[in-house]
Amino acid sequence: MAARPDSEDIAMDDAPTSHQPEVKDDTMVDDAGEDVEEEEDYEEEEEEEEEVQRVKLLPGSTETAASFEFSNEGHTLGNALRYVIMRNPEVEFCAYAIPHPSEAKMNVRIQTFEGTTAIEALEKGLRDIQELCDVVTDKFVAAADDFEKKKAATA
């Protein structure tokens, strides 16, 4: 990686996450030699088995205050998640953003009070929406059946 001569003005950690270099898993990219190729082959195989990571904890996160990056998600999940997490009384703050419209990424910031962690709050939020979905499905199916019955009765 090329060194940046102008890195004096701010510490890298203080820069917004979008300006920080991406942390790469494979550090041997710049190396050369046969070992590397073997290593890469091995990694490729591993990648096939592993799923693509969809949630990422962004740097600078602590237990109770964390930012998550969701890939391939947008307002559909973001807004509902933000709302439902914010309803959790143990959560102090929650917001979501889509940093750039042409990148399929969605960031969620969660800050909780002591006693719970941001990851727990996130998981709880996801489960709460699931529960809501279940209820809405049941209600919708019941309403549809009801409607059919009424229609059959009047016809």
Binding site: E51, I129, Q130, V135
Partner: protein, 334 residues
Amino acid sequence: MDYDPMAMDDAESLGPVVKISQADSVRVKFELQNADISFANSLRRVMLAEIPTIAIDLVEIESNSSVLADEFIAHRLGLIPLNAEGVEHLLYSRDCDCEEYCENCSVKLTLHAKCTGYENMSVSARDLVPVGERINQSLGTPVISDKDGTGPLILKLRPEQEIKLECIAKKGIAKEHAKWAPSAAIGFEYDPHNKLRHLDLWYEKDPKSEWPPSEYAKWEEPPVEGEPFDFDAVPNHFYYNVETAGNLPPDGIVTEGIKVIQQKLAGLIHELTEGEGEGGYDGPRSPDYNSGPDTGYGYSTSYGGNGGNQSAWGGGGGTTPFGGQTSYGGGGWS
């Protein structure tokens, strides 16, 4: 559960309510109450863009002496709605083991027409013939709902002109291309009297007389003259009008839409909890996973293995049999 999300002091404490005002083979109109606008909008967005359906994706033209260019016809073919009954059992081509496409991830249709008479001839969706193995007999069949029974017009042929081609229909979602949209349109509306003032109505003299009232205006209390603005009010009644393009039944679009949200969430929960319970993790599922009215989940098939990457959004799915928590799509397919 540390707290009950439904036991709070606002309207949501009552729990969501669904009321259907109209339902037929083309549309379903319903009202969702006591839910937040963010969830209502998620449902709308997901029904619009993320429900998997099937549409023609590849076209191989053997002969085309019509006046229309090959690519023009290919585009028209792509937009023809195909019956999507049972797409949940079809793989995405990108997740399939085959080279390009196979019967596990596509449906083949052929079109062969020649004008042998003395008058111009119409070629329509009815003339598309599905061939080869299919998951079920309706998957991939062109949707025909007009009274003549011809389906959408593809092109016209003059005497002696001929068209012969082969189409490959694949599974996809409308986020990638609108041809995969299950819904022709989704009406979404709230606050018909504009009490919340989310709208700034344009007018010449008087907005009340110039803007016709919404059909839902009579469902809600009209504003009282001189009533002060309620700053705490939030939208609470959402009116949907889901119109199908023919590939899925309208109520199926709604239930499938919720299922898509569920799958998204299940995939994410799976990823979050993956590191913790080693081995013993038996998959994310909603609490009342097994209490649905239909227990015939036909999910034990075809992609059972370790893949499970059948979802369009980054294959998070994992190996878990999420989905099937609705009474819809009950799977008698085995």
